[in-house]
């Protein structure tokens, strides 16, 4: 079989492990180009580990991650950073840094010792701050922002990196519901603007609503993948999350909406 229109980012035969603990074995995964791919599954199913491997944060014990046809670790690290960005689960805010300075750090892979602040850098930072709606916060100290604002600033930093592929490790954790939606809407905008987005999420309903491609994992294996409406069934939810549920159509988005079975059902009185 000739190589099909190979996706830019994929992993083949991945065995992923921390020290001696094997998290996933012989995993094959493909991130469709220009998709908004969401990886989901119960705690400790290996979803963040898979994302970290795709972002070259974790070296696979076996197998390889490919970016644009090359083994990702064979490419110069800075070159990879111009094509693939990652928003880690948690990063440390440097003491006393302003929003602009933090976002500007996203330009690192485009800079050299002698070329530290080109017009392109400046334009990318301005645009990233506009897209994430943090322009008014430009001179504020990041430490003093709210959780939602801070997450938008980290996203702006990742955007300033100007990579066609952006990976996000649980970008909504620690945010309240309105900030979760705000961040996910932003991700959807970025996807619509042509980026390939890959996110690890916790909330199945949010995953169904935003993903164009869903990867469902359990115990280090991919159980199902595809368009949410095509794969999310009560059987799948029972198999993956050990949860009995009913699935209806989300009245807002038309995507699958999971309603967990209630402990005490409402009985309609006649």
């Amino acid at each position: 079989m000739a190589l099909p229109q190979a996706a830019r980012l994929s992993g083949s035969d991945l065995t992923l492990a921390y020290d001696q603990r094997v998290v996933a074995a012989e995993l094959d995964v493909t991130i469709p180009d220009e998709s908004f791919t969401v990886i989901i599954g119960p705690n400790a199913c290996g979803k963040s580990t898979l994302l970290r491997a795709l972002a070259r944060m974790l070296k696979p014990r076996k197998g390889a991650v490919h970016l644009d046809g090359s083994v990702i670790t064979s490419l110069p690290s800075k070159e990879v950073a111009r094509r693939l960005g990652l928003l880690p689960q948690s990063s440390i805010v440097p003491d006393g840094i302003t929003v602009t300075d933090l976002v500007a750090r996203g330009r690192y892979p485009h800079q050299k010792l002698m070329r530290q602040w080109s017009r392109a850098d400046e334009a990318a930072v301005t645009e990233a701050m506009r897209a994430t709606d943090v322009s008014e916060l430009a001179d504020r100290i990041v430490d003093e922002l709210s959780g939602g604002q801070r997450q938008r600033v980290w996203l702006a930093m990742a955007l300033a990196q100007e990579t066609p592929i952006l990976l996000l490790d649980e970008p909504t954790t620690f945010l309240d519901i309105s900030h979760q939606i705000e961040v996910l809407d932003l991700c959807a905008d970025l996807h619509e603007a042509g980026r390939t987005m890959v996110a690890v999420l916790h909330d199945l309903n949010q995953a169904c609503r935003y993903a164009t491609h869903l990867i469902v994992m359990r115990d280090g294996a991919i159980v199902a993948e595809g368009e949410p409406a095509g794969i999310v069934t009560p059987e799948l939810v029972a198999q993956v999350f050990d949860l009995r549920c009913e699935i209806i159509e989300d009245p807002q988005s038309g995507t699958p909406l999971i309603i967990p079975e209630a402990r005490r059902r409402v009985t309609t009185t006649a």
Binding site: A81, D95, R105, W117
Partner: protein, 335 residues
């Protein structure tokens, strides 16, 4: 604020530039004052002519042979301690990650004391300090290493090593004969007295070699302060940068300790003072080096003059001045 010439461009922090310039001027002023004053006062114009080689014979002897080497050693050692402190505080993301707290300086002391007890020459004592510092660093690094070195592990292992080495040092002092113990005790406080060009030159050479390396790793190090994943995502080879930075930091600390003894607190306070003055995020290398130079020469000047004619070892003063100033700045931080 940014500066662009054709393909070259840098982003400038005006405040950091001003602070840097002021520190250079202060260092120069302190150096001239230290050279001019003492038991025999040399007028400042004579200091300047003697420095540039056209002074009277007496002025040239006092300036060129006696005072200038001491001041220059102080400037260089201070800068080396400041840089070393900046590197380790950045790597460990912790002000307590300074070489004087994670065992490196204590290891240098062990080497130095052994040199004194063995009846070594000044050069051999310096060599012992160098070996002790590098040896301790290798050991701490190896013990803290677990598939890469995490900052907090380095601090924890280092604090353990520090405690162990301090007790070894005390033991060695109790076993030494009284003369050796007195010599070692004086060396342990850290002092610039009697330092000649042969002390200054090794530090100058080390700085000349290591400063470009510092310039090269300082930007990636600032990124690593945001976390290993964030830095790797930006295309930084975190372990390579960290290993290079550790090597540079240890060498600077070792060379400085060999020249002036384990002067404490400069490596801890210089980067913190520099950071607060420049108001820059994270640790700044250049300002830390300048601050270290100012702190050490300033402290040495004070040590010679405060209780004149009694001469104090500079280590007594660095702790006092650096500590007091840092406490003041921390108090201001609280608003």
């Amino acid at each position: 604020m940014s500066l662009r010439f054709g393909p070259w461009s840098v982003r400038l922090a005006p405040r950091a530039l001003v602070v840097g310039l002021v520190l250079v001027l202060v260092a120069f002023a302190v150096a001239v004052a230290a050279i001019a004053t003492g038991e025999f006062t040399v007028p400042i114009p004579d200091v300047l002519t003697a420095l540039f080689g056209h002074g009277t014979p007496v002025a040239e002897l006092i300036v060129g042979k006696l005072r200038a080497p001491r001041v220059v050693t102080g400037l260089l050692v201070g800068a080396a301690f400041g840089l070393s402190g900046a590197i380790f505080q950045s790597l460990t993301r912790n002000p307590l990650g300074s070489p004087d707290f994670i065992g490196f300086t204590a290891g240098a002391s062990t080497g130095g004391i052994l040199g004194v007890i063995a009846g070594g020459t000044a050069l051999q004592i310096a060599g012992g300090a160098l070996a002790g510092c590098v040896g301790t660093a290798v050991l701490v690094y190896a013990l803290a290493h677990r598939g890469g070195v995490q900052g907090y592990r380095l601090v924890l292992v280092g604090i353990g090593a520090n405690a162990l080495l301090l007790s070894v040092n005390s033991y060695l002092l109790t076993r030494a004969n009284i003369n050796d113990a007195a010599t070692a005790g004086a060396w342990l406080t850290g002092s610039l007295s009697g330092r000649g060009w042969d002390h200054a030159i090794p530090v100058a050479v080390a700085l000349a070699v290591l400063l470009p390396v510092c310039a090269f790793v300082s930007r990636p190090m600032r990124m690593i302060e945001m976390g290993d994943d964030a830095a790797k995502a930006m295309g930084i080879r975190v372990e390579a940068v960290r290993a290079t930075a550790i090597a540079v930091g240890v060498l600077l600390c070792a060379v400085a300790t060999a020249a002036a003894g384990p002067v404490i607190f400069v490596a801890l306070s210089a980067p913190q003072l520099a950071r607060r003055l420049t108001r820059s995020p994270g640790v700044t290398m250049a300002a830390s080096a300048l601050m270290g130079a100012v702190l050490l020469t300033g402290a040495d000047l004070a040590a010679q003059r405060v209780l004149a004619p009694t001469q104090l070892p500079v280590g007594v003063l660095t702790a006092a001045i650096g500590g007091a100033y840092l406490a003041l700045l921390l108090r201001k931080d609280r608003h």
